[in-house]
Symmetry: C2
DNA sequence: CCGAATCATGAATCGAGGTTCATATTTCAT
DNA sequence: ATGAAATATGAACCTCGATTCATGATTCGG
């Protein structure tokens, strides 16, 4: 077992270089087809139930071709995870740039997250599958997401917009809420998250769940 | 493919009979050893990374013995899932019997959930792994849990203790919060959930996260 | 338009691990 | 005490799927 240097939680650690980058138009197309096929299949059936055979078949390439771009099955999985992570964060950042206040920012962030999961509803399955495919990746994913979230929350606490709880607790509560709401609607019900639900969620995190005892 | 009758979401569907029940003291002990070994291994390494070989070795039985009690690898996984599900619900019900109001009930419920996950920290890994092992089981698990939760929440809404949101939304928010707080602390940090965190969580769901703009 | 680099092929390899089964041992009701 | 039922054994089987590699086709800069 040749253990390579451990991959600590450095923010910008990228593993995307694991792949052998195509240098030709043809190569790029092929790689794209492979990635698409893999994302679809992993999303539907998970890592261990997806055969390389199926990926290459669905991508219309020979099995050997797969190994031109990825050293092994796990690499493509990890690659997809990072890709999704980046894409999600990018969408959220872009969607929230000109929000007037933190509350609006949360709302738009939630909406963006829901629509992203709706588009890439394999995100969950891939991320959750990760804990048994590439152990570190799973924690890395959420801790990373939380860290970015944290920055915004702390700022909003300084400005007085957000109450003075332990910010990490708040961040994990908010991530929990969005993840489970998306799970319920997009994964279980196979529908977009209804507007009414989004609004109730906003009310819950604004006003709490309980009525005051009179 | 001989598709057996589809397992709809009937509350009390039990699959525990999948196993060949032992009729002897010896048999019971053996089965218990196998279950313990399997729970440990599945928790640590997930379903697909756990070999029958390892389970039986860790349980000190021969490979054939495994198949006396379970028809195949998936059965024992499913069995464990149900067992955990029942155990968790039982603990929560028992812990909350004499709570004075819904808010206290939530708090005690949260505490019990955290302590359960702390004791059986494989619960998460097993449940989340499930979506790729036994697809229905994953959704079944959460929907089932949600349904029980819902009953209590609706009651508390009638009595006016809980605000009048869509109860399903509220339930999934609360499940999301507890699951992610447990994830952060018990799984990622490998520590029990600190008291301060529990208190902040309670405040968040009581008072919300935002300060009112003055 | 040539040839070195790139990309593609797919049959063959190889190891892994779930499951079976013929045989042996243990239990326990009578 | 006894034998039928219940348990236990573990080597052998068998399938499946990740990966390799020798060979062939394409690309594209100069």
């Amino acid at each position: 077992m040749n253990m390579t240097e451990h991959n600590t939680l450095k923010p910008n650690t990228s593993v995307l270089e694991l792949i052998n980058k195509p240098k030709t138009a043809r190569g790029k197309k092929t790689l794209a087809r492979i990635l698409k096929a893999a994302e679809d299949l992993f999303s539907q059936k998970g890592f261990y139930n997806t055969k390389i055979t199926e990926i290459v078949e669905s991508a219309n390439v020979a099995s050997g071709t797969f190994y031109i771009y990825f050293p092994d099955k796990k690499s493509i999985f990890r690659y997809l995870m990072e890709e999704l992570n980046h894409a999600l964060r990018k969408e959220i950042v872009e969607a929230t740039v000109d929000c007037k206040n933190r509350k609006e920012e949360e709302k738009v962030g939630f909406e963006t997250f829901f629509s992203f999961v709706n588009k890439h509803n394999g995100l969950f399955r891939i991320v959750w599958d990760a804990q048994f495919v590439i152990e570190e990746a799973f924690m890395e994913y959420y801790e990373n997401f939380a860290q970015h979230y944290l920055v915004g929350i702390k700022k909003a606490q300084k400005s007085g917009e957000v109450k003075d709880y332990d910010p990490t607790t708040l961040v994990y509560c908010l991530m929990g809420i969005t993840n489970f709401i998306a799970l319920k609607w997009i994964i279980f019900e196979k529908k977009p998250v209804p507007q009414k639900v989004l609004e109730d969620v906003m009310k819950i995190i604004s006003e709490g769940a309980f009525n005051l005892p009179e």
